[in-house]
Each structure stands twice: as structure tokens, then as C-alpha cells.
């Protein structure tokens, strides 16, 4: 049971895919302008990593070693397209899918998804693989939401589209909206994370 707990908690804190492994930062720059988009992206990535890890783990003993990357890619692509299709089909999520546009499709290029399949799912049983995938997605999503929180608050003065700072007469900072600012915020998060967790610092 302790091992299971570790599988779930490690990707969220000590082995966070973004702040520690620095995987999947490309999309975290693109979709963090607004909280709503970041939240949907976080959920989509969590579902994709979880299900792809599960499926790859289920078929791990049958995959021919020489084409294993291709098989992983096909499985991940399947999950990504399914998520995209479902988002498009529901009235409530259609507008958000439209806003995230290409970035949902680009989950397939997120190094984190295939990284977890290679490193974990191919050598572990289905249930731990599913948990590992979901936990990595959540670890990724958590950072995404933090960055989006800062960017939407300082860039547009709103949270989830509701005026917060803009109601107090705050003048929006255009720089925060642009992608480089996501990188700076991400740097700050990594800095804070490393200061708190001394194990992560290089000797």
C-alpha cells in the first residue's frame, strides 16, 4: 500500500513532471492565459496520460520491442483524438475546445505522456500504471493552473472571467499575456519548489 501511495504522490510533488523533470513545458506556455482553458487542458492531459498508460500496460507483454515507440504513439494518438472529439460534441465544452484549438491535438507531442509509458507503464501492472499516469497528469495540471492563475489575474485582471483586480482599477499588464511570461512564472515556481525541497538541489 505504501508503494501505491508513493506512485500517486511522487509525480505530484517530488517528481513533478514540469518542475522537476521539466517535461511538457511547451503546452504549459500556450494554454495558461486563462484559468478555464488551463483547467480543461489539465483534465484532458490527465485523462490521456492515465488511459494511455493503462492500455500500454495491458498490452506491454505483447508489444514487439522494435516498434514499441510506434505502438505507444498510436495509443496516445487514439486517446488524444477521442478527448478532442468528445470535447467538440458537448455543448458545454465546445467553446473551450474552440479556444484551446490546436493545443488539445498537441497533447500527443507532450513528452510527459510517452515518457511515463516508456519509464513506467511498460514495466508495471495495469493498475499502478493507470495511477501513475493520472498522478502525472494531475502534477502537470497543478502547475498549469498555478501559472494560469497568476497570468489571468495580472494579465487580464480577472479569474475564470470574473473581474477581480480589474474591478479595483488595475491596469492590465500586456506582458503577462505573452508566452515568455509563462516561462518566467514557471522559473519562479521551480525556484520555490527547490527551496522547499532540499533533496532536489544539486550538491
Amino acid at each position: 500500500m505504501g508503494k501505491m501511495k508513493d506512485t500517486v504522490l511522487k509525480p505530484i510533488f517530488k517528481g513533478n513532471p514540469i518542475t522537476v523533470l521539466v517535461l511538457g513545458i511547451c503546452s504549459s506556455l500556450a494554454v495558461t492565459v486563462e484559468l478555464k482553458g488551463a483547467l480543461v487542458m489539465a483534465l484532458s492531459v490527465t485523462i490521456v496520460t492515465g488511459l494511455s498508460s493503462l492500455v500500454c500496460s495491458l498490452i506491454r507483454k505483447t508489444i514487439p520491442n522494435r516498434v514499441r515507440i510506434i505502438i505507444q504513439l498510436v495509443v496516445v494518438a487514439l486517446m488524444v483524438i477521442l478527448v478532442d472529439q468528445f470535447l467538440k460534441a458537448f455543448e458545454a465544452t465546445y467553446a473551450i475546445d474552440k479556444q484551446l484549438s490546436v493545443y488539445i491535438g498537441l497533447i500527443i507531442t507532450n513528452c510527459m505522456v510517452m515518457g511515463r509509458i516508456e519509464a513506467f507503464a511498460l514495466g508495471n501492472k495495469p493498475v499502478p500504471s493507470l495511477l501513475d499516469g493520472l498522478a502525472n497528469g494531475l502534477g502537470y495540471g497543478m502547475i498549469l493552473v498555478i501559472v494560469a492563475f497568476v497570468r489571468e489575474l495580472l494579465g487580464s485582471g480577472t479569474l475564470f472571467g470574473y473581474p477581480v483586480l480589474s474591478a479595483l482599477g488595475y491596469v492590465n499588464n500586456g506582458l503577462v499575456i505573452l508566452p515568455p511570461m509563462a516561462l518566467i512564472i514557471l522559473g519562479c515556481i521551480i525556484w520555490v519548489h527547490r527551496s522547499i525541497d532540499k533533496d532536489l538541489q544539486e550538491k
Binding site: V33, V67, Q85, E91, I177, L178
Partner: protein, 229 residues
């Protein structure tokens, strides 16, 4: 079992691909109608927003069914809805200088007519709808959408209501070579058929300007002819 065998590898890969293709085809078949309905409602809500029947958020709040109902009740004539891909096809024909293309005009009961525009922004296609008063010259309102313009800069053509508001009250001069322009700086000041561009989004503004010029020229026979009657 030897999973490194060539024959095994080929058969395995083929089976996986066929299986995945079958799943995707099935899901696409099942979800297709729902997606098309969402897309249609989105287009309709853009047309209605341009025609000043309400803000874009309003249509999202009342939902797809109510939006389509409102559209059909207030439309004079046949409700033909052009999807973005159909606009793209039309744009291609307009650009090639094809004559006698059947162009869509949405005429509403209160005299407002809406026409689409389509063109290229900085990163991808941009399109939108321009609503005319009953004189078919004065602009009542406009709504624009884009695929991937920079949020906060080019994205303002969609997200910034004050940019859209600049169109209201202006008019399209069908006699001019450039019926309507989006210009930098003070160039637009005092002109009836030009508005100020978005600062920081030169390429998107230019693209939108070019799209409007191209489409208005194409619409000249349709709109200008009706005015003279």
C-alpha cells in the same frame, strides 16, 4: 513467444492500427451530428452578434436550441447556414476572380442584412460577419473570429468589444477601389469608410482589412445593385 519476429511485428502493428482506426471511425460516426450542431449554433451566434441582437455571451447562456430558434424566427427568407469550411471554399473562388458566385446574405426581419468575410490573419484563417442597416451601406455591427491569432494582440479582433464597436456607424463605399479599410495611426481619422487598427497586431489588422476589401468587392454586385432598385 518471440515478439521480435518480423512476421509477428508486421501483423501486430497492422492489427493495432486497424483496431484504432475502427474505434475512431465509430466514435466519429456517433459524435458527428452533435459536433455539427455545435458548429452550426456557433456560426449562428456569430451572425446574431454581428447583427446586434445581443452579446456573444448571451447566446452561450441561452444555449444552442434557443439561439437557433431565435435565428429562424427573425430571419427573412431561407435559413441557409454557411460553415467556416464553406466560407473557405468561397474565399478561394473569390480570390480566383470567379464571376457569378452565389454569395450568402442573411436578411433579418428588422431590415438588417449580414454578410460574411474570410481571409488570412497572422497565424491562421480569420473570418467574421458584417451587418448592414437597411440602406446596405451603413454598418450596424460586426463580429470576427480567428483560428490562432495571438491572445491579447491579434485575438482582440474577437475578444475586444471596443474594436468591434468601431465598425458601427461607419459605412462601406462600394464605389471606391478599397470599400473599407483598417488603417494605422491617424490615417483613419475623419474617414467614413475606415477604422483604426489594433496596436501591436499589425499583421492581423492588415489581414482583416484585406479580407474585408476582397469580400466587399465581391459583394458589390449583390449589395450595391439592391440599393439602386
Amino acid at each position: 513467444m518471440n515478439t521480435n519476429n518480423n512476421v509477428y511485428t508486421v501483423i501486430y502493428t497492422t492489427v493495432v492500427c486497424v483496431l484504432v482506426a475502427a474505434i475512431l471511425a465509430f466514435v466519429s460516426q456517433k459524435l458527428g451530428p452533435a459536433q455539427a450542431a455545435n458548429e452550426k449554433a456557433e456560426t449562428i451566434s456569430q451572425i446574431l452578434t454581428a447583427a446586434q441582437f445581443g452579446q456573444k455571451e448571451h447566446w452561450q447562456e441561452i444555449g444552442n436550441a434557443e439561439t437557433i430558434k431565435f435565428f429562424e424566427e427573425n430571419l427573412a427568407g431561407e435559413p441557409v447556414v454557411t460553415s467556416t469550411s464553406q466560407l473557405k471554399a468561397l474565399n478561394y473562388r473569390i480570390r480566383n476572380g470567379e464571376q457569378g458566385i452565389e454569395l450568402p446574405v442573411y436578411k433579418f426581419n428588422n431590415g438588417i442584412s449580414v454578410v460574411p468575410v474570410y481571409g488570412a490573419g497572422l497565424w491562421g484563417p480569420i473570418w467574421g460577419y458584417i451587418a448592414f442597416e437597411s440602406d446596405l451601406k451603413t454598418i450596424a455591427g460586426a463580429y470576427f473570429d480567428h483560428e490562432s491569432e495571438t491572445p491579447g494582440l491579434g485575438g482582440k479582433i474577437k475578444d475586444d468589444p471596443s474594436f468591434r464597436a468601431k465598425f458601427s456607424g461607419k459605412s462601406v463605399d462600394f464605389a471606391a477601389e478599397k470599400p473599407f479599410e483598417i488603417l494605422k495611426g491617424d490615417a483613419a481619422e475623419g474617414r467614413d469608410n475606415a477604422i483604426d487598427a489594433i496596436s501591436g497586431a499589425t499583421m492581423t489588422s492588415k489581414g482583416l482589412s484585406a479580407a474585408i476589401i476582397e469580400w466587399m468587392n465581391a459583394y458589390k454586385p449583390v449589395l450595391a445593385a439592391t440599393t439602386e432598385e
